[in-house]
Amino acid sequence: MRELLKKFAYVGTALVLVGVAVNSCQKQATKSGISADVAKQVYVPPGEYDEFYAFLSGGYNGQIDVVGLPSGRLLQIVPVFSVDPHNGYGFDEETKAMLMTSHGFIPWDDSHHPELSQTDGVPDGRWVFINANNTTRMARVDLRTFETVEILEIPLSGGNHASTFVTQNTEYVTAATRFAVPIPQKDIPIDVKNFQGTLTFIKVNNDPNYEGNDRMEIAFQILVPGYDYDLAHCGKGPSHGWCFFTSYNTEQASTLLEINASQKDKDYIAAVNWKVAEKCIADGKYKEVPVTYYHNYYDDKTHMAYSKVEKSVKVIDPKDCPGLIYFLPTPKSPHGVDVDPTGEYIVAGGKLATVLPIHSFSKMIKAIENKEFAGEDHGIPVLKYEAINYCEVPKPCLGPLHNEFDGRGYVYTSCFISSEVIKTDLKTCKVVDRIPTYYSVGHLMIPGGDSRKPWGKYVLPMNKITKDRFLPTGPELAHAAQLIDITGEKMRMLLDFPTMGEPHYAQALPADLIMDKVWKVYPLEENKHPYATLSEEDAKVVRKGNVVHVYMTAIRSHFVPDNIEGIRVGDTVYFHVTNLEQDWDIPHGFAIYGAHTSNILIMPGQTKTIQWIPKHPGVYPFYCTDFCSALHQEMQGYVRVSPRGAKTQLRWRGGGSDWKTG
């Protein structure tokens, strides 16, 4: 009967859509089912601020979008794992090192799960972490500058998906292998049964007085069976000290996983006691495995990124560390695993399951004490399902993926296949409300919704399919998010807005936790860039063989020098541009004809460097790319390039000076 009703509901939706096509006047109201009075809930008047900062991952664009809520206005795009021609990230000489890996310079990645740093289980507005799924890395973005300041490569991993989830006080950030691989990598036949996975714990230096950006290091990796480790969340309150990782393909299929990895009724959540891991490390119960990986970080004073090449990692085999890890049987190819604000309920997204399984942390601890094991898997104890499960929410929806919490005892679940968000009472395990999303929701996010104290005002489903929601833009459409009011008994749809790339997850927190700490300039006095030019009279051009360094200044609205002669074909020229402004929101840009890189945007007080290799003799213009003043169009200059081997004198001028020579 229930299924029948559902079918009717679908037919009803179809009829509504037909109605839309026929009567376009009713389009908006009918399609979204909203009333006009919601406008005032999302309208932020010009010049006023949003209540929340939201950080949406960019998926295959490798970035983070910063969005204001409730308006849905895009505030900034932070490049993390992808080069960005907008400001020169990854193109300029300073930040290239950020994208170095043991596989060389990687200009792109797939960023999935942002996570705000937490103190006492509550987002604190210091940093946002995010993972790179493809060439396994994780990053830290500083929320004073909204810049990527640290990237750590994760060795012994294939696909860093269950990342970046933090422990209650940001002691650790998680990483895990989505794709089982040979560990360590070697040339063997493709057979997943011979592969393994790792669960990685990255230690974070939380010292507020530490000024460096090399804050992260791999504390240890746990060797696990060759399954796909999908998502994670760490415990809080009573469950602080544990992290939980979902797994699928416990079938260990190597091909056609779509069918072959969906054979078993249950896969696992791996429950890891990281305090036990710490003890095993202290007791020397680990192996130091030689492996090369990169640790890159940006120095706020020299304005430059550095790479450290690490040579080994501590690996724990669970066999040597009893009590470290348990498997919780969980239906069926579970996706998300989410711990409620009290730390007691562990809710899985039973992707292919017909139920929503909710496990109990306290039951799990009892089951471990009472040794209620169903058996072992690769030497890891498997707990009895009945002994850990609190309840199964029956027939919640189709394709439940992720869960967030409102702090009032409800869990909100995204349902991909049936395109809806459902609201479930955690105690009674009953679905109390549901609302359609447009369409095929993946992740969803409540500000602070995976923390101990959610700001439970909105839920933001992020949808994979947009179809007819906005004006069409060809075969590719931007993904879309919807803002839903969750303060009442019934959820209320407020807003639709397009998102960039493919947001996989998001985080949000009240604006006042960040906005007063944001830097407005880089202080000139603290600029320790080795090629900084802090005064126009120090501007110069220096030749060292075929390499030419231009020490250049920029201020509204001129460069010094702005005329340079004596460059030759065959030279490599570095323009080190220092922005002498100390006024907020006055970047200068720099671009030069024929550069094979991008433009650079130099923030006030900052120095950035762009490489230029002129190919042909001639006189080439350069100019400021960021409209800076009424005389911005005048902010330009020339470089004369002579043929290879020419004797043209190296000289420069600017700022009203005569020609100078080196």
């Binding site: 010049g47 009279e537 201020i555 002498l580 006024d583 005389l631 700022g655």
Partner: protein, 169 residues
């Protein structure tokens, strides 16, 4: 002089209407209106900008008046360093550059005016008719260079030294 005062009063009146919102979150529309009205007052050509040694600043400026003691060479030296780091990209002592030549500035302008010009240039452009007139002439906005009041005082001392002694401190 009466007309100068009138101009300032008009500016204050408009300022009050705008709600006096200095924060970045202030209404954009109101600010635009304010600026337009100010431009009118500034471009009337009736303001005698030479007569500014007895300048009384608009209400919102941080420096109301400056107690000038005997010349302090140490302070002037500190000002000279700051001048090189933060000002020389736009100002020279002896010649017009992006902004006016600064030789003689302490003879032309009230010391509080000079410090406020350094500390709150945007506010001065909006609320001080003299500054507005200078913007019309130079077309480049004086920029805030992240200096403290103490720094601004050192810069003032540097300009005094130049004007009194005719040499670098």
């Amino acid at each position: 002089m009466r007309k100068l005062l009138l101009g300032i009063v008009v500016a204050f009146g408009i300022y009050a209407c705008g709600g006096g919102n200095q924060s970045a979150g202030g209404g954009a529309t109101e600010q635009t209106q304010e600026t337009k009205q100010e431009a009118k007052a500034g471009s009337s050509g009736e303001i005698v900008i030479e007569d500014t040694l007895s300048w009384i600043g608009p209400e919102g400026v941080p420096v109301k008046s400056v107690e000038l003691g005997p010349l302090n060479q140490e302070l002037a030296k500190k000002g000279a360093e700051l001048f090189k780091l933060k000002c020389t990209a736009c100002h020279k002592i002896d010649q017009r550059y992006v902004g006016p030549a600064l030789k003689g500035v302490t003879k032309r302008r009230n010391p509080a005016w000079i410090m406020n010009q350094i500390l709150v240039p945007d506010y001065m452009i909006e609320h001080d008719p003299i500054t507005h007139k200078l913007l019309e002439e130079y077309l480049a906005k004086m920029t805030f260079q992240n200096v403290t009041e103490e720094d601004a005082r050192a810069l003032l001392e540097y300009f005094r030294w130049i004007d009194e002694k005719g040499t670098e401190p």
